[in-house]
Subunit: 401 residues, 2 copies
Amino acid sequence: MINETYKRMLQGKSVIRELSEYAAARGKEIGYDNVFDYSLGNPSVACPREYTAHMIRMLEEKDPMAIHGYSPSLGIESVRKAVADSLNRRFGMDYDTRHIFMASGAAGALAHALRCVTKPGDEILVFAPYFPEYNPYISHTGAVLKAVPADTENFQINFQALEEVMNERVTAVLVNTPNNPSGIAYSTETIERLADFLRKKQSRYGHDIFLISDEPYREITFSGADSPYVSRFYDNSVSCYSFSKSLSLPGERIGYAAVNPRCTDGDSMAVMFGQISRGIGHNCPPSSVQLAVAEVLDKTSDLSVYETNMNLLYSALTRLGFQVVKPGGTFYIFPKALEEDANAFCMKAKKYDLILVPSDNFGVPGYFRMAYCMDTDKVKRSIPVLERFVREEYSAGQARG
Amino acid sequence: MINETYKRMLQGKSVIRELSEYAAARGKEIGYDNVFDYSLGNPSVACPREYTAHMIRMLEEKDPMAIHGYSPSLGIESVRKAVADSLNRRFGMDYDTRHIFMASGAAGALAHALRCVTKPGDEILVFAPYFPEYNPYISHTGAVLKAVPADTENFQINFQALEEVMNERVTAVLVNTPNNPSGIAYSTETIERLADFLRKKQSRYGHDIFLISDEPYREITFSGADSPYVSRFYDNSVSCYSFSKSLSLPGERIGYAAVNPRCTDGDSMAVMFGQISRGIGHNCPPSSVQLAVAEVLDKTSDLSVYETNMNLLYSALTRLGFQVVKPGGTFYIFPKALEEDANAFCMKAKKYDLILVPSDNFGVPGYFRMAYCMDTDKVKRSIPVLERFVREEYSAGQARG
């Protein structure tokens, strides 16, 4: 018989996806060039040439069985070693091959890590604003998502709110820096303070509290941003990474979980991830993609367009009177809407073919997200439209007040 | 805190994997050519040239964003349509795009289908002998695996045993034809009888019973075998397919679930699979692999070596006095061991560098599996060794009795 849980989920469509579908449909009417589609966080720059070149060379020269054969369920050993070496070199860590688990993007890494360090009924803390897909990731583990209210001043961590939400049932804390949707990177000070806080709670409660770090935007940071490597600050940590954004390979489903060598059961956790894989029917990311990515671990796509776009939007938004915190990375910006109801605000923007995502699903009402992964030219063309929208829909006084 | 369930799973290593690791280690000592490694079901022939050629052409000519961009969570629409068209053409079905869900191999397809049509506490029937990984696939859904004892005469379905095991809690029945480990294909007669049986039970119990068909070996059938397309015979059915064996791409994690258009909620089931994906952190198979596979849907690797190997082994085994049913497909054969304890039998074989898998984990004690996906030359060289093993370890009279 059809499982009613999944049947009910048919009702709950993703707001982001609906807006993106609307933008595509509208694009068919007026030309997609004329739709200022800030809905989807889909990379807008090509993968590095070296990735393509290496993939072609493998396909031309290597034994197909070596490229397309089964990967061990924890990932191809040489690839895991290359990932460990790269992280050690770049972030002063001491990962070994056994601490790396290849996963189908950060989503896959998170699904494994969250399942491994919690049991049904446990609480997992997330910090608002947060990626709405954390809801299904967490609810399917049987644990309960609890959101810590935002510090809307700067979107760092609201420690007073954290103290209020924290309790003995919490066994994991999930952070995402640089952050989707705010674009903010947690500072060294923020992470140090969080690590201290968690260590104290661990010793008070007498049990582990894991820090699960979701890092798909780790390589997209802007000049001047302080965006340190989270796992350096806390032993019970797992770093969940995706190559989707840094190498512009979101469809290839490739990432990894890096288990802190000093965490509880650190030497066997990746093997446990492998056991979890057996139950969810996903054994490993594609073998050829693992092999090709291992050759370009220290490279990225040309990510500079994101900073260019951010600066253009940040300056336009502040000029137009929006309250907005300057992003330290990602390709998102998260301004306050010009009326309390962000849904109403975004509906009005739609009339101008400005596709903005209201913030309610991110756990902070009254804001909106713009994903500015697009050509700079389009961002530039959108600014006068944004200006007209604000002028016509919101009185000058109100907008600038 | 580390989840104790997964920690306990660390103890339960896969027998097949242990044997395969032993074979690899032994290969380093005496040369892998001298290890008759019948342990792993890993394709031994290259993927079709057309697959490689198409992948290279895409990488050289297409926009990287189009190849590597996000796939919708149900799969790339054009690929789903191509799969539906191919199945309709080949098996007289009437699938539409909406009935196809792209999955990471048959494992991914099964994980989605089994979750969707059961709820925790339901029973799922499997037929012995069966693939041991069905245990984690099913236990992670919260449903309970119940095995129907084998008909060891011919490894078709033991309908008397099925009648005894069937009860009202059963909401899904899982078949695998051609079968791992027996190599047997279910005949038209078997499938018709199973479909009749299930229809009667559905109407008696007043609820759906889904037939989930695991078909990674569908394209590997041998001359004379009657191996029909399961979903043609029963409306409440989902066909779970993998390209791992037919195209020799096991590492690329690509397959699909095809939902029978006439099944309950047939038009929305693939969307429910998409919802399940969100919770297990696996969004879709790799985009480039989806696109390349769509170009070679009606092709296969050169699979003839498997039939050649099967004939050689079948004739040698029968000559040596083994009781064995002739496979109709796959690259497995499943003879009865020459002593009651298949583990003891396989341990003795190991001394001759014959790596055989004892059958206990397949739910039928006293047999062993040989995966003959290897060069025919190696199969030929293994036969005198098999002969010597039988002669030295088992008296001639016993072996031929």
